[in-house]
Every structure is written in structure tokens, then in C-alpha cells.
């Protein structure tokens, strides 16, 4: 792989929330280097901290949250030092934009679609209203709105869910951001619409050359969009690597479990692989490996000491004691062995997911 520029670098981030008189540690020492032009997917369950972590890149933590440690370097600045909205001007929205899950709540229901797009363009680019309208219609067409000129004056309720999400994407891209954070952008949408929105984001990324952080709980979506993947659990990234490494050579038992429990891999009449128990409470201090209580491969040390990142390849790291040379050799579960061969059979002629093109 050619030498790539790091566009954003988060180091040892710790995020705490004050909830009544308690402190909850949502992010526990997470670091991430984001390369220019790539799509980095963050996978995890709700509460794993995937949204909170990326909110530190745009200063959008809820008011009871604070970054207790660490730095986020972007464009020579440490973003964790920015406090007021004024500090963030020119970065949030302009350079680093976010698309959220629910397109209905991200749009203002009582203003026209057009005015919501032009507002952003006028604010960030300081152009005239007429120029902003021209640009808005252009970008609406770009995200696949047919009859953009006419639909410019319509309200959000006149748009379907998928179309609304296209508008949210249009607003996010109207300032030509360098980094686009997509926070579960398709979770609220139907499967067929989901596929279209994913395709749209990929197409726009090729055209406009931005870097994407893609947050999702759906491994199928990750396989489609990601160049690299980070798996989060209990407020930490526990494994990261290229998308092929994560799917074909996963190393952390939690990644194994996530892959194994996919219904696509389930066989009818047999039990689907399931992870017993529930994710850890972040109010208490987590000792050892956060996944240990649910991990059938857990070693004694997993309950006592937090594992470091072990290097598997130049791009692939996992935080599990199983990779320690002294650990017993454990193989990944049967159901995710030869994953590519299995899925190929499923999607080839005669397979359950084969569709004629």
C-alpha cells in the first residue's frame, strides 16, 4: 500500500459522562489514525461507545459529557481544546460533517427542504442567496432527487424516508467537507432503500474524495462499505484491521461472536449462535478484558489484567490475551471458518441468496 496521509489522529481518548452523582466512562483510552480518502467503519452494539467516540471529532458530546483525557489532532489543531461554538466554526459542518440515523429528526419539519440546504451554504460559503439556491439544486440532483427545482420548495413531510436521508446527505456535503461521519445512516431505512443510500454515499465519495467514518452495528453493511474496520466493545476498540482481515481472519473472540451470530449464517432447524449475557455496565470500573464474562474462551488473566494490542500484521491488531505467545491455541468457531467459501456458495447459482442479475 502506498504511503498515506493521516487526516485525523485521535490519541488515548477517555470520555466520561456525569449521570446524577455518578460517573460513567463511555470511552476508555481509544486511539485511531484515520487515513485520507479511506472509509473506516466502526462496528459495535449500542452502548459500545461508537457514536460517543466520533462525537469528540465534532465537539458534539452532550452537555454532561467531557473528554477526560487524550487529543484529537486535525489540521494541526487539537480538537479537544476547542470549547465554544465559535472555536468550532469552520471545522464542524464545514470540514467534518455528520449524517445521523433518523432523517426526520435531523430536518426541521416546518421549513422547506430548499431553505434548509441554502442556509448551510450561505453560512459556510458566504455566497448570495441566488448562488446558494443554484448550488442547492445542483447538489439535490447529485444525491438523486428527481425534479429538484420543483421539490426545492417542498417540506420534509412530502419526502419519503429514503429521500429525506438523501437531503441530509446533500446538506452535509454542501460545504465540501473533508471528513464525513455517517452515524448509522441507514438503520431507520428499509433494506432496499438502505442499499441505495449506501451506493449513493460510495459514489459521492469517489466523486468528491472525502474521508468517511461509517458507524454501524450491521456487519453486512460494513462488508460493503469499509476499507478498514474497528470493532468496539465496552468503550474500547478491541480489534482493527482491513475489512478482509476482520472478516476472513478475525482474532478477537468478540468479533468471532458478532460474525457467528449473523442470521445469514444460521441454518434452519439449528440454533443460531448467540452470545449469552449482556454488555458490561460502564458505571463500574472494568477489570481485565470487558468481554471476558461473556467469552467462553476467556483465560484467567482476562479477568485480572487488561490485554494490550497484539500485532497480527502491519494493519491488523487485536486486544486479546489469546494472541499472547503463552496462551493456549484457540481456533475461531466452525461457523465462520472459510467464510468466503461459504458465502460464495450462498450467493452462487443454487445458493439461497443467489439472484439473477
Amino acid at each position: 500500500m502506498e504511503e498515506r496521509n493521516i487526516i485525523l489522529s485521535a490519541k488515548d481518548i477517555v470520555v466520561k459522562f456525569r449521570v446524577r452523582d455518578n460517573y460513567l466512562t463511555a470511552i476508555r483510552n481509544v486511539s485511531l489514525d484515520l487515513y485520507e480518502g479511506e472509509t473506516f467503519a466502526i462496528v459495535g452494539e449500542s452502548g459500545s461507545g461508537k457514536s460517543v467516540f466520533t462525537k469528540t471529532f465534532t465537539g458534539m458530546l452532550e452537555s454532561n459529557g467531557q473528554i477526560a483525557n487524550g487529543s484529537v489532532m486535525y489540521d494541526g489543531k487539537d480538537l479537544t481544546q476547542l470549547k465554544t461554538d465559535k472555536d468550532w466554526e469552520g471545522i464542524r459542518g464545514a470540514k467534518i460533517a455528520t449524517i445521523f440515523q433518523d432523517p426526520m429528526t435531523s430536518l426541521n419539519p416546518i421549513r422547506t427542504i430548499g431553505s434548509q440546504i441554502t442556509e448551510v451554504i450561505v453560512k459556510h460559503q458566504k455566497v448570495s442567496n441566488a448562488e446558494a439556491k443554484k448550488q442547492a439544486i445542483e447538489i439535490m440532483e447529485r444525491v438523486g432527487i428527481i425534479n429538484a427545482e420543483k421539490r426545492f420548495d417542498e417540506y420534509p413531510f412530502q419526502y419519503s424516508g429514503g429521500m429525506r436521508q438523501r437531503i441530509v446527505i446533500a446538506i452535509a456535503l454542501s460545504c465540501h467537507p473533508q471528513i464525513l461521519i455517517c452515524d448509522e445512516p441507514t438503520t431507520a431505512l428499509d433494506v432496499t432503500i438502505q442499499a441505495q443510500i449506501i451506493d449513493l454515499i460510495k459514489k459521492l465519495q469517489q466523486e468528491l474524495k472525502f474521508t468517511t467514518i461509517y458507524i454501524t452495528h450491521d456487519l453486512g453493511v460494513v462488508a460493503n462499505v469499509a476499507d478498514r474496520v474497528g470493532v468496539m466493545y465496552g468503550g474500547q476498540i478491541i480489534e482493527y484491521g482491513t475489512v478482509e482481515e476482520i472478516f476472513y481472519e478475525p482474532a478477537h473472540p468478540y468479533t468471532w461472536a458478532l460474525l457467528s451470530s449473523l442470521p445469514q449464517l444460521g441454518e434452519k432447524g439449528k440454533e443460531l449462535y448467540s452470545i449469552h449475557g449482556t454488555p458490561p455496565s460502564l458505571y463500574n470500573e472494568i477489570k481485565g478484558d470487558a468481554f471476558a464474562p461473556r467469552n467462553k474462551y476467556a483465560l484467567k488473566i482476562d479477568f485480572e489484567q487488561e490485554p494490550p494490542f497484539f500485532k497480527i500484521s502491519d494493519t491488523h491488531y487485536a486486544k486479546t490475551w489469546l494472541l499472547d505467545p503463552r496462551a493456549p491455541k484457540v481456533e475461531k468457531p466452525e461457523v465462520i471458518k472459510d467464510l468466503h467459501e461459504k458465502i460464495t456458495l450462498m450467493t452462487e447459482k443454487g445458493g439461497a441468496y443467489y439472484v439473477e442479475q
Binding site: S46, V191, Q196, A223, S261, E267, K268, G350
Partner: protein, 318 residues
């Protein structure tokens, strides 16, 4: 093959229309026809707005039919029925909802939540009997009897959904309408709930109407699948058949949209977009027709010929 199976529920020519503020009636469900056999899991798959939940609610007698009828064990349960019959239906058909947090009373203990049906129908001899039933229901769904004094907010999403299932199970229903029961749950919890539903089905001989939007989940859990689009059932078949020989273009587009957990395959996948308005509507009006025993597709005679040719080609290939 399905001839010797007992039909538990039968939906015949059912329409559900909503009043659109004095304007034209909105037909959310158009001429739905299907049977559910005892002991099977029958799934309704479609996108939001397709009318799948409306059908479920019509079976629960929440939405009224504007046309057609619904038969349960041969007796009509739609429209006006006697109070006794109504009670009987409410007991025998129970529902599991999508959002376990919203469907439980947050001010009531788990014990009350689960006993509510017993109270309403006086289905217990005495206090001891009721408590015994609650304990058993909790154990059935993998919770502990000591959980019953707690409140819903003390549970995780997966546990709350178990409470929702226990609440339905305690009525000893014959049919359970499960409306997107795992959509609101975390990935690692979904498998637990699916396995639980399968286990209960085997143990108690339950029948499920499973409403979902995700074909991969549906494939794992159902015996037969009906695909619904814009209020219209476009294809019904046994699970294996539907995946092997999908005929209706909408079924195919739904199938192509299932994301596969394999980057090499997923990255070169071509999307098949279904556009109702771009279809050839020439010829007579389409209806749901049986193309092979048990395999129905929504088509007119011209389309039937096309599907028949395509099906034969696929069958020849094996």
C-alpha cells in the same frame, strides 16, 4: 403436501382501508389471501408502509377489515362477533411487539406485567396458582423467578423482550403475532431471542405469524414466507422455494438487498432496484395465482407465462 395440515388462521380477500380525512380512502391492505397452518412459522416480509403490521393488527382485531374476512379455526373472527368469542380470540391470539420498552408499563413490576392477562381473564385459581404460573413463564423465557419484583427499566433490551414474550405465553395462546420482535434489539441479543422463539414453538406447539423486514432473519426462522409490497401480497412460498426460485421482481430486489458479511462479494454486488411504476402493466389485472403447489405469485396471465418459463429454466438448472 400441505393438504393434511390443519389451517389455523385464514385470511380471505381482506382489505383494510383508512379514512384519509374525508378524501379518498387509503387502502393499506389490498385483497390479502393466505392461510397459516398449525405449528408453522409464517412470515410476512415487506418494507415500512407495505401493510404488514396492518395485517397483523387486523388479525388481533385492532384494525377493522373493510372487505373480506379472517377465520380462526374455521370461525370468523373479523367484524362483529359475540363477546364470548371476542374473549376467546384475545386469549388464543397473543402479540409480541417490536419495542419491549414501550410495550411494558414502566410503573408496574414484572410480576404485574406478566399477570395482567391472568387478572383480566381470571385464569388462575388462587394467588399461589397465579404466582406459580408467573414463575413458570419467567423460567420458560430464561429469566429467574426472583426477577418478578423488579421494574422494566432494571432490565436490558433483550431481557425486556423476554418479559414481553412471557406475558404473551402465560395466556397459553395458539397463535402468536410477533411484529418485528428483534428489530429494536442489539445484534448479540437478537440471536438469543430468535432461539428462544424457536424453542418455545417446539415445546408448546405454537404457531407464529412473524412480521419482519429482514429476509435473512426470516429465512432462519420461517417455514413459509409471504412477501408484501404496497399493501399487496406479491409472492407466497415455502422458505426454501422462495429463496431458490424467487419469481416476482420485488422479491428479487429484496433478496439482492440483503447485505452479506463478505467484503469480496459485497463490494462487487450490483443493486437491483424495483420500480413499480416502470413495470409493464399491459394485459388484464394481475391476481395472486398458484404457479406450483404452495407457491403463489401476483401476476396476470401474460406475466404467468413469463414466470412459468423462468421457473422451468431455473428448475432445469436445479
Amino acid at each position: 403436501m400441505s393438504n393434511n395440515k390443519e389451517v389455523l388462521l385464514s385470511v380471505k380477500g381482506a382489505d383494510v382501508a383508512f379514512d384519509n380525512g374525508g378524501k379518498k380512502l387509503f387502502r393499506a391492505v389490498k385483497n390479502a389471501n393466505f392461510d397459516i397452518y398449525r405449528g408453522e412459522t409464517f412470515s410476512l416480509v415487506g418494507e415500512s408502509g407495505s401493510g404488514k403490521t396492518t395485517i397483523g393488527r387486523a388479525i388481533m382485531r385492532i384494525n377493522e377489515l373493510s372487505k373480506g374476512e379472517i377465520l380462526f379455526k374455521g370461525k370468523r373472527i373479523s367484524g362483529r362477533i359475540s363477546k364470548e368469542e371476542d374473549r376467546d380470540v384475545i386469549r388464543s391470539i397473543q402479540m409480541i411487539f417490536q419495542d419491549p420498552a414501550a410495550s411494558l408499563n414502566e410503573r408496574a413490576t414484572i410480576e404485574y406485567c406478566i399477570s395482567e392477562g391472568l387478572y383480566n381473564f381470571h385464569l388462575y385459581k388462587d394467588e399461589a396458582d397465579r404466582i406459580e404460573k408467573v414463575d413458570k413463564a419467567l423460567k420458560d423465557v430464561g429469566l429467574l423467578p426472583e426477577h418478578k419484583s423488579r421494574y422494566p427499566h432494571e432490565f436490558s433490551g433483550g431481557q425486556r423482550q423476554r418479559v414481553g414474550i412471557a406475558r404473551a405465553m402465560i395466556m397459553e395462546p395458539e397463535l402468536i403475532v410477533a411484529d418485528e420482535p428483534i428489530s429494536a434489539l442489539d445484534v448479540s441479543i437478537r440471536a438469543q431471542v430468535l432461539n428462544l422463539m424457536n424453542k418455545l414453538k417446539e415445546e408448546k406447539g405454537l404457531t407464529y405469524l412473524f412480521i419482519a423486514h429482514d429476509l435473512s432473519v426470516v429465512r432462519f426462522i420461517s417455514d413459509r414466507i409471504a412477501v408484501i409490497h404496497l399493501g399487496r401480497i406479491v409472492e407466497i412460498a415455502e422458505t426454501e422455494t422462495l429463496f431458490k426460485y424467487p419469481l416476482h421482481p420485488y422479491t428479487i430486489s429484496l433478496l439482492s438487498a440483503v447485505p452479506m458479511p463478505d467484503p469480496r462479494i459485497e463490494k462487487k454486488k450490483e443493486l437491483i432496484v424495483y420500480d413499480e411504476s416502470k413495470r409493464d402493466h399491459s394485459g388484464e389485472k394481475p391476481i395472486l395465482q398458484e404457479i406450483r403447489p404452495g407457491h403463489f405469485v401476483f401476476a396476470n396471465d401474460r406475466e404467468m407465462k413469463e414466470y412459468e418459463a423462468k421457473l422451468q429454466e431455473m428448475e432445469a438448472r436445479g
